[in-house]
Symmetry: C2
Subunit: 288 residues, 2 copies
């Protein structure tokens, strides 16, 4: 494939950043890849695994002359890491991110990047797992998965096309929507399931249930993502709190409908609610 | 292994009944196996797959002379199917079940089986998946999984030992507890996760979210068991409603703690709740 960027700085060489580094180099989409991370162990592991050509904990050094900066750090760190890298980037460089929340991120980065003569494109490659760190990087992570681009009124069309080509080049389907629509949809399909998994684990602990002894497949799968990165999910939930709360309210309403039908011994009602859920889920296929 | 039963009638030759038929014959634990089911297609498939030696939709015929009756039917059908089979069983025959709720089932069956000169032992092999029917039967289903026996004051000790030997013989760990304790534990580790999966699917539908397009691994795993058998889960939820409601209340309390921390932008609070859940879940290992 044609090379899209000559020098890429990836801030955050964990699951997403590290996997992109691997996949994009494998596909010949990028020239040199420089990793930026705070912790020396992360940098060392990224180098040892060959995810990046160079690595640094200094934003100015890592970003020097890059024509793409990919911010693959927790949501609330995106703007501050972007700000530190910005002056070192090549003029006209593309800045993008991989954050799971887009409204607040796009607003902040639009305000920051354009005035500095670079071009921001918000993106969310939906390919996370509960794993984290450079050790989890996997060149095949993105294949067949969805990446959502969230262009705003300020977004440069050519920059958006290049970011789209990058994610398509590592195997993703790319779709565009507004940052606000993205946040509502992701609250429902991703942020809410994480909230439920965290709460379910904590409820088991509170009740002193020996889940490791008695839990079967349903509990394992229902709680799998509770082991996700605390830092990443703290940021997502705090930044997308309003949309998460709305999705949670809809969910709670459905839980209460089912609970009330059970409480009333309403066989027809329970059957109807279970049948609806079961049909929908069967139409979707198995496990992740 | 030594043969435990000469003639076994399995009522319900779906995932659990069919798998036990396969596994117990493979292990040489049982002689003839007779399948009982209502629907001709189920009987035909059980025969075609070689799960059973004979099959019938007539309880009296299927149970004739059996020294073990295993009731692997939905919870609210256990007593009525047991009642229909009882007169045909060999004198002193063992009657057991595979129901996911034990309090109500043990009370009913104790009252039914002892006076008829047979011996009831409540059991719950925890090995279900979202699949169902004879087509899902799998001789390895039980290996390494837990079976809970729920003896009552009326339970015959020798009969309980034989039922335990049967489940151990197909690879299960067997543990005993009271029917009431079983129902509380299972409400927390199994029935509640199913309620959440059903409600989550219905909430997505209500909000018109295109989950098949935007949902990733977290949603897939969180909703996997929503595709489970409606008949089976309707019965479990209706019969174990009180314990499920208690588990749900604990869960809701944890959801509200997290929601409140998010709403207040309480970074330390969110971090603490996520850290607790994440540590617990990491200690448990991966996917089902």
């Amino acid at each position: 494939m044609a090379r899209l960027f000559e020098r890429v700085t990836i801030a955050g060489v964990g699951l997403i950043g590290g996997s992109l580094a691997l996949a994009a180099r494998e596909a010949g989409l990028v020239g040199e890849v420089v990793g930026l991370a705070r912790r020396p162990e992360t940098l060392a592991e990224a180098l040892r695994r060959g995810l990046v050509d160079r690595a640094s904990s200094d934003p100015a050094e890592a970003a020097q002359g890059a024509d793409l900066l990919l911010l693959a750090v927790p949501v609330r760190a995106i703007a501050s890491v972007g700000r530190q890298c910005l002056p070192s980037l090549a003029p006209g460089a593309v800045v993008s991110d991989a954050g799971s929340v887009k409204g607040a991120v796009v607003r902040e980065l639009d305000a920051l990047v354009s005035p500095a003569g670079r071009r921001f494109v918000g993106a969310h490659p939906i390919a996370g797992t509960e794993e984290q760190g450079p050790g989890a990087a996997d060149a095949t992570l993105f294949r067949g998965r969805l990446c959502i681009l969230t262009p705003s009124a300020q977004t440069d069309a050519a920059a958006a096309d290049r970011v789209q080509a990058l994610w398509e080049g590592v195997g993703m389907r790319v779709e565009r929507m507004s940052p606000e629509q993205h946040d509502d949809v992701l609250a429902a399909v991703s942020h809410l399931p994480h909230v439920l998994a965290f709460a379910l684990m904590n409820a088991l602990a509170t009740a002193n249930i020996d889940f490791a002894r008695y839990g079967g497949g349903s509990l394992r799968d229902a709680t799998r993502v509770a082991s996700s990165s605390v830092e990443m999910w703290r940021d997502i939930l705090l930044v997308n709190g309003a949309a998460v709360e709305q999705a949670l309210a809809r969910f709670t309403g459905e839980v209460e409908r089912l609970r009330d039908a059970i409480r009333q011994g309403d066989e027809a009602g329970v059957t109807e609610l279970l049948t609806r859920a079961s049909r929908l889920r069967r139409g979707w296929g198995g496990r992740a």
